[in-house]
């Protein structure tokens, strides 16, 4: 078994790891680095529970190889809150009861954060289409959409 040595940055920290060539970035995050916030709901890029950012763009970490992280800047749910405070999206998800079981929540939050960085004033329709790659089976999406709109509103006021 030949393993690859990879150097990357995750949530601002330089990280080195060994992985097999076939391992996905999601496998590496979860099984080698202990970053289990990203979830595997499908392994085929359909559910978005494994959403991370790669150089600022959202990606399904189940569709990327661990080796492809070499030299990239990876962002995961574990890097979303600062040491002082939750991200406004995290706060609004709590206040709006935008999660029931919570398994899809990390993926939604990472995806929504990327949306608000791209488009600080999204319409409901824009929110719905941006998040169409993230499946939630509990909420019917209503409270998720409201939470994202409320966070956008809050962030514009700051």
């Amino acid at each position: 078994m030949t393993q690859l040595h990879i150097t990357t940055r995750i949530n601002g920290d330089t990280v080195e790891f060994l992985c097999e060539a076939e391992e996905t970035l999601l496998d590496v995050l979860r099984d080698r680095l202990g970053l289990t916030g990203a979830k595997e709901g499908c392994g085929t890029g359909d559910c978005g529970a494994c959403t991370v950012t790669v150089d600022g763009r959202i990606a399904c970490s189940c569709l990327m190889l661990g080796a492809e992280a070499e030299g990239r800047e990876i962002g995961t749910i574990e890097g979303m809150a600062t040491t002082e405070a939750l991200h406004p999206l995290q706060q609004k998800f709590l206040e709006h009861a935008a999660l029931q079981c919570g398994i899809c929540t990390p993926g939604f939050l990472v995806a929504a954060k990327a949306l608000l960085e791209t488009n600080p004033e999204p319409t409901e329709r824009e929110v719905r289409y941006w998040l169409a790659g993230n499946l939630c089976r509990c909420t019917g999406y209503d409270k998720i959409v409201r939470a994202v709109m409320a966070a956008a509103d809050d962030m514009r006021r700051v």
Partner: protein, 749 residues
């Protein structure tokens, strides 16, 4: 201490507010540990070999090459499980690991444990299974024919008529009156046949567990499940262990909707761990979830209803045929019981057939059996409304079951809220809003029994006066918040002073599964009673300090207070003050309650939906949706709304997109989220909710379960809306674009 009077209306301090859930921060920061997030020292990876055939005799399994692969630590087949297991666990074992026959595409036949996932995957390919393919059947009506391929030679029980296939396992019948006489009184009788596809619960978290069995036979299991006590009892039964020798801890659970009320990989992981003498982690892939866990039944239903011109239903009859996969136990019984439950009928009869086919064993799915029956019944009612030009709400109000009505499944209802939900729907702006071209509005009612069951709760007072609440039901949608709220409400202390934990099976007595919409009702009831038990003990401690009779102490505002002739003689003692001196007044203070909870009030809902049909493509867009449901008393209204919204949207998927598609070869053709399409954010509008509160007389706060009723009306409501918009009655689900387009084109002649 005088117990509180629970009978009158009461003002709530915390119940009815919307605090942040106690497990919330962990879930928005990625800290929460779900099934697949656990690691144990020395852990192996387990994986399962599954049948590629819909029906096959297993002539032999050669595991020698897999066992010889470096890094493989154990291989198990059915031979590694006891030959004799308790009767009630036999089907579950056979479903977790096939015996003589593989009964469906995806049926487990062997499993391996290896030092890495990649070695485990390689080992799977080295296991050689010698199959003899057998004829198969996956359709419910085909499976009932006398010449259909037979799954189980022994066939059904004594309730099954002689002329039908041995695939019919049981026949149910409910009702009262004389249906023929009732039909004769009608001004019109409509009879229609309906079909619904099997759908999957679609929880986003695949099944996952970590098992560890040590050489002394003691086992530990970490698992995502709706009921870790059920997992303990079932796995112990299957593996020949004493229940007390297996301690099961429930992880956070990433959705279940009924699908995690049984076991699949858990006994296999334990068997692998026992054989390898190492902990074993097993995580299903999404494909395995679709192929081998429990979807709901596909169904074929005939409904016949007679009605007078004024809207009075004179008689109602339904025959329901549900296939529940490869083993007895489709949810047809509850379909037959619930079909006409919303209505007060003089003449009613339902017959249900439980049928086996070469599909995965059905598991519960949110109000199991009821949504399909409601789809059929509420569709015929809508057609009768169209025929007589009746308002759908007024027709239903005319026939609605009320307090004192005899339900079609037997009991007489206590206070219920069906009419209140109908009136709420009628009073919405939605009901009166104008519709555009190719748009239609549908309305339907739904019912669910709700459930109580075995419940054991323990509440402990810490030395600083914090209350730790231990309960035994996995929190699938915010129940720790509602338990915390009810405990704080009863104790008269702030929400923040209570901490709720889901205890493992070693820490509490038996708890029923998180199912039947039972948790907020039954665990809430036990929590309130445990709080009352703790209050009683606190009052005794205060009485002891004050040197007065315990009966002369009341609990008010979170403190013990002298009452009666002693009123005002001593300063009140708060929970924290009582806790601080507990060691000197008799030791630690705890409250308990254990019961088989009864009095779960039934729940009704009325759903209202507007759709737009594209006559060129058959595509349906849901424009507006309103759920009106009786919650009895909403403890945390945001999570009650969430249950309403989530159920409605699962119903939208069931109505419009979702279906298990089998090929001629009996293999599932769409085992993934790309081809089994659940609703996504951009498919949907906001889901409006009206929480109706008709208190449940069986709960001190009036709580009714809310989790399941919300999926009962949607398919009917949407079918009624689509049928009105497209001017053709849709009687088969899903109403996918090709099916609707064919119906539209067929109606044009």
């Amino acid at each position: 201490m005088a117990p509180r009077d629970d009978t009158g209306p009461r003002e709530f301090r915390i119940v009815g507010t919307r605090p942040v859930r106690p497990d919330g921060i962990d879930k928005v920061t990625g800290r929460a540990r779900f099934g697949a997030d656990m690691v144990m020292p020395g852990m192996l990876t387990g994986a399962v070999v599954r049948s590629p055939h819909a029906h096959a005799r297993i002539r032999g399994i050669d595991t020698s090459r897999a066992e010889a692969l470096e890094g493989v630590k154990a291989v198990v087949t059915r031979r590694d499980f006891p030959a004799e297991v308790p009767e009630d666990h036999l089907d579950v074992l056979d479903n977790c690991m096939a015996g003589d026959k593989a009964l469906y595409d995806g049926h487990a036949v062997a499993a391996v444990a290896a030092i890495s996932p990649s070695i485990a995957r390689k080992a799977l390919k080295l296991i050689e299974v010698d199959y003899e393919e057998l004829p198969h059947v996956t359709d419910v009506d085909e499976a009932m024919k006398p010449d259909a391929p037979v799954l189980h030679e022994e066939g059904g029980d004594e309730t099954v008529p002689a002329a039908v296939s041995r695939n019919v396992m049981h026949r149910y019948e409910y009702g009262h009156g004389d249906v023929e006489a009732g039909l004769a009184e009608a001004d019109a009788v409509i009879e229609r046949s309906f079909r619904t596809a099997a759908t999957h619960q679609g929880y986003i978290e695949p099944h996952a567990c970590v098992a560890s069995v040590s050489p002394d036979g003691y086992g530990e299991l970490w698992v995502c499940t709706q009921g870790h006590y059920m997992v303990r009892n079932t796995c112990a039964g299957i593996l020949g262990m004493d229940e007390g020798d297996l301690r099961v801890t429930a992880s956070e659970i990433g959705g279940g909707f009924g699908g995690k009320t049984t076991v699949f990989i858990e006994p296999v992981a334990l068997a692998l761990s026992r054989k390898a003498n190492r902990p074993v982690k097993m995580v299903m892939s999404r494909e395995e979830v679709f192929r081998a866990t429990g979807p709901t039944a596909s169904t074929s239903i005939d409904v016949k209803i007679g009605m007078k011109r004024d809207g009075t239903i004179t008689a109602a009859l339904a025959e329901l045929r549900y296939q529940g996969g490869a083993y007895a136990g489709s949810p047809v019984q509850m379909g037959a019981m619930s079909a006409f439950a919303p209505y007060a009928l003089r003449h009613v009869k339902t017959i249900g057939y439980d049928v086996v086919t070469n599909r995965p064993k059905a598991a519960a799915y949110r109000a199991p059996g009821a949504p399909m029956a409601a789809f059929a019944v509420e569709s015929v009612l809508d057609e009768l409304c169209q025929k007589f030009d009746l308002d759908p709400v007024e027709m239903r109000l005319k026939n609605a079951a009320r307090e004192g009505s005899k339900a079609s499944y037997g009991p007489t209802y206590p206070r219920i809220g069906l009419s209140a939900t109908l009136e709420a729907a009628r009073d919405t702006a939605h009901y009166k809003a104008p519709l555009g071209p190719d748009q239609g509005r549908g309305l339907a009612c739904g019912f669910w029994f709700n459930f109580g069951g075995d419940t054991c709760v323990s509440m402990n007072l810490t030395p600083d006066g914090t209350v730790t609440l231990s309960e035994g039901n996995p929190d699938i949608g915010g129940s720790r918040a509602s338990m915390t709220m009810m405990a704080a409400e009863e104790l008269g202390i702030p929400y923040e002073q209570v901490r709720c934990t889901i205890a493992d099976t070693g820490s509490l007595g038996q708890n029923e599964v998180t199912d039947g919409s039972r948790v907020t009702f039954a665990v809430g009831l036990a929590t309130i009673k445990a709080a009352q038990d703790m209050i009683r003990k606190c009052c005794q401690r205060a009485a002891q300090v004050w040197g007065i009779d315990a009966d002369a102490v009341i609990w008010e505002g979170g403190a013990a207070r002298p009452a009666g002739p002693n009123a005002g003689k001593f300063a009140p003692m708060t929970l924290a003050e009582i806790a601080a001196i507990a060691s000197n007044t008799g030791g630690p203070i705890a409250g308990h309650h254990e019961a088989n909870a009864e009095g779960a009030g039934v729940s009704f809902a009325t759903h209202l939906v507007d759709v737009e049909v594209d006559p060129e493509t058959g595509a349906v867009k849901v424009l507006r949706y309103t759920v009106c449901q009786d919650a009895g008393k909403a403890v945390h209204p945001a999570y009650v709304e969430g249950q309403f919204q989530g159920g409605a949207v699962q119903g939208i998927g069931w109505a419009l997109n979702e279906e298990y598609i089998y090929g001629e070869d009996g293999r599932l053709q769409n085992p993934g989220f790309l081809d089994y399409r659940i609703p996504v954010c951009s498919d949907l509008p906001m889901i409006d909710t009206v929480i109706v509160e008709v208190p449940n007389p069986g709960h001190p706060y009036g709580v009714r379960g809310v989790g399941e009723t919300s999926i009962v009306p949607p398919m009917a409501a949407i079918a009624n809306a689509v049928s009105r918009a497209a001017r053709v009655r849709m009687a088969e689900l899903p109403m996918s674009p090709p099916r609707l387009l064919a119906a539209i084109e067929g109606s044009r002649g």
